[in-house]
Symmetry: C2
Subunit: 110 residues, 2 copies
DNA sequence: ATGGACCTATAGATAACCGATAGGAGAGCG
DNA sequence: CGCTCTCCTATCGGTTATCTATAGGTCCAT
């Protein structure tokens, strides 16, 4: 029985996208596939969540997109992290670590 | 410099309340104070988030409330976990663990 | 040239949380 | 008794983020 796809934890999508892009520039569906691969298939970002997030973050100046060709020679928009995006990723990771600690403390309370 | 209050990670509130109530029945503000205490003050649930959640979960049959007197002899509604609530808490913890693993994998990818 | 896979994109609905605010009820004090 | 303070519950409106569903364009293979 294979694990069924996990839903997103709301509020973490930006961080996960930024982190994924920090390793290499990717186009939209490439990001989604990379995440799915890294998590062994348990995790999927749907297009309807992904693209609005990309547009929003491009508007914020955290990522920059440029049109190119995908591996399969299709028209695709490649995104890469900007300097501001790198800074933002750092902030989000700190916030996440802090929230995670609080949640863990509550879950492990006796 | 004490850590400023962490915001809630959306989607985890039910689980945190259920977990807190699984240790002992508490009234609304008691839940909030208990969480704040356990996390060393970094975490606070605001009334505007807490009470709607309590009512919703009571409607779902996960918790049961009964009127009583607080430590200070004030009118207070004490909530305790039902059997269904215990089951629900188990599910939420499993989902959380699964989501957490996926997020960690992405954050630690190289 | 036709069907299918790939990639981007938007719209509508829903759910959850926050900030602000209100108000009742007991306690302590003069 | 009457006043005020604190405790506790409660609701409203707004914002934000994600999901489902859908659409459209483009390249490739047959």
């Amino acid at each position: 029985m294979k694990p069924r796809p996990t839903d997103l934890v709301p509020g973490t999508l930006d961080m996960l996208i930024l982190k994924t892009l920090s390793l290499q520039p990717l186009h939209g569906l490439g990001i989604s596939r990379r995440m799915e691969q890294v998590t062994g298939g348990t995790f999927a970002v749907k297009p309807g969540s992904l693209f609005p997030a990309l547009h929003r973050m491009e508007g914020e100046g955290w990522i920059a997109g440029s049109w190119g060709k995908s591996e399969n020679n299709r028209r695709a928009k490649f995104y890469e992290l900007t300097k501001a995006g790198r800074r933002r990723l750092g902030e989000e990771k700190r916030n996440w670590a802090q929230a995670l600690e609080a949640i863990t403390q509550i879950l492990e309370a006796t």
